[in-house]
Subunit: 670 residues, 2 copies
């Protein structure tokens, strides 16, 4: 099953006695291995570096990088130096004709950073590998093209990457058809390579995109499917027993199966070569791997998916962040070959420019011009279409022609009824360059496509609370502690008429001193009352894990500045708005400086507060507490902003606009 | 290809000379027809009624109902009277053990209403058929279970219905396994039937759901696939050339193909029977149909999809809303058989209740109890799971066991990495009854599932503008007229760094007198200035097609009440917020009564306005202008609310809370 060995096993082979004995099973595998020792060492170096990164960050996903290391090794063995892999160059990460690589299982990004490191990309220096998942590093927890040269698109939400890659393959095919000439047939002829996992193929978006890719005959798209039989919940047999090979054949793909890589990389290499030869169909290579390969006891287990292996496992595996000279030299050679390929292309392009100045200039404009100043100006780079609503969306470009398998020069795309993939494909086309993609559907179906429209990685759902709150009939509850969580369940159970969304933090939250299940069921209540008599000086509204931070801030404001502060926990806006006006005013006086604090977009909070501490951008990668501090959710900053708000109105003579002083129009409610 | 004939053709057969001659082709088809004349007449009556409804409403989708009429006919030929179809009863549309029917191509709902009419459902009386798509009717433009007895779920957004149906089949299998006994094996044994089209199968959500259905071996799920080769854009060959049969086989389904129904319904009937016999796999029956069958010149053409056929086409087809006595009698017989099946089940259940009182009581509680008063109370009806994040979501029910093919009594669902289908399946399970479904994932992936979470039909995207506006890096433009549309394009073209969403109304919008492309690019500007000097008495902010309505209202307020009103068009909130404070204050003074008007959820508008005219519920079906009036967007109501707002603050002594008087915290923007 496994073709390779870990470093300890390798040592045992070279210099017995080893620190750790191989199992008989592993020893038998070793003997059967037919690859070169260097190849083996390269693969194991990739594995080891990825595991080290996760271990040092103390978070991340070691399993997939270890299982997928052989694929990465082959894809980074440059075609230009006789390998089977991709052409690219750290000298110009934006080289138009580079072969694109998309890691669709973005949680495995340690693998991608390692490969970029070995290829000489500055953003993935050894220091950056060691800063994996830290605030401000160029090696965040899921790949972000905004952050790291060599990363083509943001991946992480499963299925997005492979769908983006379909867009890249469309872009390459279209641009090649438009700009290559008989004398210069290779100006744009790049391939798109993908590594993906089971999850990517389970998501509907990939089904949409891959059906279209088959229809369009995108021969330059090669997907390596890491068939490791493991998802987070356990074995894929729990929920995923379909025949993937048959499904992809039904889409019109070439499907190759590499059942056994235990004896070397030859089968996989041959499969990739086969994929390159097949020019009229995309290729899926189904590769049976073992997750966490090389880890003595977590190999093949879901436990290696999303958590560090642990030091004992790592120590058994290899030394820290080690890259032997021969391995470094091998990848340097690959990188040099890529640089040479780039140089050769540059020379070719210079000649092309002499022979076909109009085309070359236009291509340069397309890839380089950031802003086009007049809409009326001809924009041949505009390419796109609709999810089967071309007429209704009025988005047929006159005279553009359809982009189809045999007419790749056309720039009208027929996406079919596939909104989610449509948006992701456009993201991929944009990421490729040279095109300004558009897509169209009814506004309603933005709800099908939001996962792709947001174009950002995992775990940054800053807009999602307001998205859900703005949906009629949706009850959204964000609980601050265990009492409020009990209320959340009670609300959900009582609420038979509409869906309920319960949002929980992943962090640990201690019980709040004055939290209340009963009060929480009114949607909002004062969890800390201001001291003394009369209206408070300041009201802070918070939800979820921000409530206790406000409680801390309120205590500091009282003791340091005698600012009498009330903290309102608001687990459910919808329920609060259903309460009597009297109750609502008793909780939120409206004419007292009021500040909302929620680790989410501030949208929607202007209704309740004069000022907001929110998140006006997408998130970042880093340890929880560091991020909370950086984004302004530390108790100290909350207190400081609270004081600022109080002072703001004090300086204006205490005239606080009364947020409760507005008429409520009874809109149609039938 | 076509097995049937239209009424005119039938007349020709029975009483020549006909009003209209058949083509030679049609005559040849007629001769080959082997079904009974009554069967033929029933099918044609269904077709004709559906076409009439669309024609009378002057909107809707006649093509699919006409093509799918034979399927509906068979599914409504009661099993209890020897037919092959479903058990159900108008006497109790909520009979627990009824066979569910889901019209996944919900735009074809005229078909469903016709069948419910012929079966005696009150909500689909002849008057209601004639009120199709009218305000307040129980026959809206897409099926809504809240609105019409006999409709199980809201369908319309393609792929939702078939995914809901998977949930229903899960519910039936689980409840049967839990409550049936050896002596009473048929308390819960209902089947779930679906009619769907190409679009449903192109959507990724159906791929997710159907892969899971195959995995779970849901033998009681039978899907009739209307393979009419036509989508809105034209032939399915434009974008959908995959091998659907092979794909569904790869999911583990039984796939049957009915290639030719020209000679009668026998092949289709046999296929449905075959589907019923296969108990360990769901069945897909691929039926080659012709869209708009029976319409002389639009048959087989995309032009019959989403618009009335036109009076000449209809007149050639049949008389208005005609149901001959023999046809009515046939369906009465089917309905009676359904009623008898219900009565037999009722009797059976009474005996079951005597023999197994605990189980029967529990089942009654599950289906009938609307509100459960204590969370702690045992809730065996709680059933659900996670999209491969069971551990992270902490949603494993202890001791519940997995619901798998051979353990349907388990109540933990393993959805796989399939968020969109997960939400839709839960909708279906809830719609079935007897279960309280839940599902879990990271909040991030609500963005994958929103299409199902909203649980409403087409064309009611009331929350979508705010969803998009709350997304960082998203530029959302809603244009009011052609000038602003030019600005929208300019904004999108200039904006290379983030996506741009341009939202257009489907209605016709006349050019506004003072609209401006340049000003629109600032995000908001006064399209009507108040008369005279000094601050306005009232500011109205609107977007898109609501702007001209506000302009009309402003003119009325000025001339009838001398209220000096400014109308601000705000095509883009994001761009407006980027302008200087000076500009923003010049457009929106803040301390003047300000009202926003947008045909969308009012969420997000409290930032800019004291009062909002918005949409606090989902939409309705009806002619555009009637709906605008009903929801309060008529110029008269806008003017009246504007005056109300002005008076509100006048009565408070003119003290208007200044919406601009708030500090802006600079949140982290790195």
């Amino acid at each position: 099953m496994t073709y390779s060995v870990n470093k300890v096993q390798k040592k045992k082979m070279e210099e017995p006695p080893a620190k750790r004995a191989c199992t008989d099973h592993q020893t038998a595998q070793l003997k059967a291995y037919k690859g070169t020792p260097l190849e083996l060492k390269c693969v194991n170096t990739i594995r080891a570096l990825a595991a080290d990164m996760v271990q040092k960050a103390n978070s991340g996903h070691p399993g997939a990088p270890m299982g997928c290391a052989p694929m990465a090794h082959l894809l980074w063995s440059s075609a230009a130096s006789g390998g089977t892999g991709r052409n690219h160059s750290a000298k110009n990460p934006n080289w138009w004709n580079r072969d694109r690589f998309v890691l669709s299982n973005g949680h495995a990004c340690a693998l991608q950073y390692v490969m970029l490191h070995l290829s000489g990309y500055e953003d993935c220096s050894m220091d950056q590998l060691k800063a994996f998942r830290q605030v401000g590093s160029s090696t965040p927890g899921h790949p972000e093209n905004f952050c790291t040269d060599g990363v083509e698109v943001c991946t992480g939400p499963l299925g997005q990457g492979i769908s983006n890659a379909v867009g890249m393959a469309i872009a390459a095919k279209h641009l090649g058809a438009t700009y290559n000439t008989t004398d210069f047939p290779n100006i744009i002829n790049s391939r798109t390579y993908v590594i993906c996992g089971d999850g990517c193929l389970q998501e509907g978006i990939s089904g949409e995109a891959c059906s279209l890719a088959g229809h369009l005959g995108l021969g330059d798209l090669i997907v390596l499917y890491d068939d490791n039989h493991i998802t987070i919940d356990g074995d894929t047999d729990l929920a995923f027993t379909e025949d993937v090979k048959m499904r992809y054949e039904s889409y019109g793909w070439q499907v190759l199966v590499v059942d056994d890589v235990a004896n070397g990389l030859d089968d996989l290499r041959a499969a990739i070569d086969e994929g390159k030869k097949c020019t009229d169909k995309p290729t899926l290579i189904k590769i049976r791997t073992e997750i966490g390969f090389g880890s003595p006891s977590k190999q093949g287990s879901a436990s290696s998916h999303g958590a560090p292996l642990g030091v004992p496992e790592i120590e058994a595996t290899k030394e820290d962040f080690l890259v032997d000279e021969d391995v470094a030299a091998y990848f340097k050679e690959q990188a040099d070959a890529g640089d040479q390929a780039l140089a050769a292309w540059d020379a070719d392009f210079a000649k092309y420019k002499e022979a076909h100045p109009d085309k070359a200039n236009e291509l340069e404009r397309r890839f380089n011009e950031a802003c086009i100043n007049a809409v009326a100006k001809k924009m041949p780079e505009l390419m796109g279409g609709s999810a089967d609503l071309t007429g209704s969306n009025c988005c047929q470009i006159k005279g553009a022609g359809d982009f189809q398998k045999d007419t790749p020069e056309g720039s009208t795309l027929r996406f079919g009824v596939r909104e989610h993939a449509m948006a992701a494909i456009c993201n991929g086309m944009f990421a490729y360059g040279g095109l300004r993609p558009f897509c169209a559907t009814f506004l309603q179906f933005a709800g099908y496509a939001l996962g792709a429209m947001r174009r950002r990685p995992h775990h940054q759902p800053v807009e999602m609370l307001e998205s859900l709150r703005s949906m009629p009939n949706m009850c959204v509850v964000r609980a601050a502690d265990a009492n409020e969580m009990a209320a959340a369940y009670q609300i959900a159970i009582n609420n038979v008429h509409t869906p309920t969304v319960i949002c929980c933090t992943r962090g640990t939250v201690a019980p709040l001193e004055h939290s209340s299940r009963d009060k929480a069921m009114k949607g909002a209540y004062a969890v800390i009352e201001e001291e003394g008599e009369g209206a408070p000086d300041l009201v802070m509204i918070a939800t979820g894990s921000e409530v206790w931070r406000c409680v801390d801030a309120a205590k500091a404001l009282q003791s340091n500045h005698s600012i009498r502060t009330r903290v309102v926990s608001m687990p459910c806006q919808e329920l609060f708005l259903e309460q009597s006006e009297e109750y609502r005013r008793s909780v939120l006086p409206g004419n007292v400086p009021t500040m909302s604090v929620e680790a989410s977009a501030e949208h929607g909070w202007h209704r309740f507060s004069h000022a907001q501490i929110g998140v006006a951008r997408f998130g970042m990668s880093g340890p929880l507490e560091q991020l909370f501090q950086k984004y302004g959710f530390g108790a100290e900053n909350i207190a400081s902003k609270g004081k600022e708000l109080v002072d703001f109105y004090k300086n204006l003579g205490g005239n606080v606009p009364d947020l409760n002083c507005r008429p409520t129009f009874v809109n149609f409610q039938a």
